[in-house]
């Protein structure tokens, strides 16, 4: 049974280890930081500029979870919406290397680190992706390794 949404997209067999996906960019505005923080991370230094100036970071910075969400968004736009993705399995070794300040523009690359067939599902493969997210000064802000499911064209024997 083919999935009409994903049938023309790249499948597991079309991916190769070492492939580098160049992400687009996202500029993180004050308004974006406030909106995310109000809903998910309502700490004074994400919600208020004066409190942010007085904090360890010395200015308004995005929630680390927002930096991760924006990194994911860039991967969806450049890669996950173009392959037969069927959802994330999780991630490991997420590191918030440097804060993302209001006005910063982030981008970077994601590299296919590994590809393997699912042990439990004959139509699925697992793609392992290494994130290297940087700001406009080429300073690393986030790294992580994400595991995502992708449909296979051929059913495993």
């Amino acid at each position: 049974m083919t999935n009409p949404v994903t049938q023309d997209r790249r499948h597991f067999e079309d991916l190769s280890v070492g492939e580098i996906i160049t992400l687009g960019h996202a500029t993180v505005t004050r308004e974006m930081i406030f909106a995310f923080a109000r809903e998910f991370d309502p700490l004074p230094f994400h919600l208020d500029e004066a409190a942010a100036k007085a904090s360890l970071l010395g200015g308004l910075a995005s929630s680390g979870w927002q930096t991760g969400a924006l990194s994911l968004r860039m991967l969806v736009d450049s890669f996950l919406s173009k392959i037969a993705s069927c959802g994330g399995l999780g991630f490991e070794n997420l590191k918030w290397k440097n804060p993302v300040m209001a006005g910063d523009t982030i981008g970077g690359t994601v590299t296919i680190a590994a590809l393997r067939r699912s042990g439990s599902h004959p139509r699925w493969g697992i793609v392992t992706l290494d994130f290297d997210i940087r700001n406009q000064k080429d300073k690393q802000v986030l790294t992580m390794r994400l595991a995502n499911l992708v449909e296979c064209r051929e059913v495993a024997a």
Binding site: N3, V5, R73, V76, L80, W96, M144
Partner: protein, 185 residues
């Protein structure tokens, strides 16, 4: 944690409360941060192996973070009301592991719990300790939605600064020697 490093009991479960995920908020989050068809379009999502719309894992995790912020804030309020000084937590350096188990569908209620599975004084930040937090999210059927191992910093209450560090700090505050010491450090 709103407790001081020394007072944190390993494996003590700290309930963070629950959240019911509505269809609109699932779609709104996904349109901003994870616009894959099974997170944004209920019609197309029927073709996916999920068989319908599911929340982005990053959405359920972000809500889990909100639940933790609120619960710790409430705990700090309770401690202050009881005349105690709450502990101080620092920024998180990262997440060691995050496993998504079963998807969250519109109408599902997810209950979050936190426990500290291990702790040790920090090598890099004197006066602070490292906490290894385990956050679990469970749906209304008792199925595990996700499990996370999140690292955090917590301030030591009983920290006595070593004499060497005290002297160094005192020197950095002197007008003439200070800049030299600071440059060396």
């Amino acid at each position: 944690m709103t407790r001081w490093f020394e007072d944190i009991v390993i494996d003590e479960v700290f309930p963070l409360g629950a959240h019911t995920f509505g269809k609109e908020e699932i779609i709104r989050f996904a349109q901003l941060y994870d616009p894959q068809y099974f997170h944004t379009d209920p019609g197309l999502a029927r073709h996916s192996h999920f068989g319908g719309l599911v929340a982005s894992g990053w959405h359920t995790v972000s809500v889990g973070h909100r639940k933790m912020v609120d619960a710790l804030d409430a705990e700090a309020g309770r401690l202050r009301a009881a005349g105690q000084e709450p502990g101080v937590s620092g920024p998180s350096p990262g997440v060691n592991a995050m496993e998504f188990k079963v998807p969250v569908r519109p109408g599902d209620t997810v209950t979050y719990e936190l426990a500290v599975t291990d702790k040790r004084p920090s090598n890099s930040l004197p006066g602070w300790g490292l906490l290894f937090n385990r956050l679990t999210a469970t749906n209304q059927r008792g199925e595990l939605v996700y499990r996370a191992e999140i690292v955090g910093f917590s301030k030591l209450r009983d920290f006595r600064m070593p004499l060497k560090l005290k002297l160094l700090l005192a020197l950095t505050n002197l007008p003439l020697i200070g800049p030299l010491v600071r440059r060396k450090a």
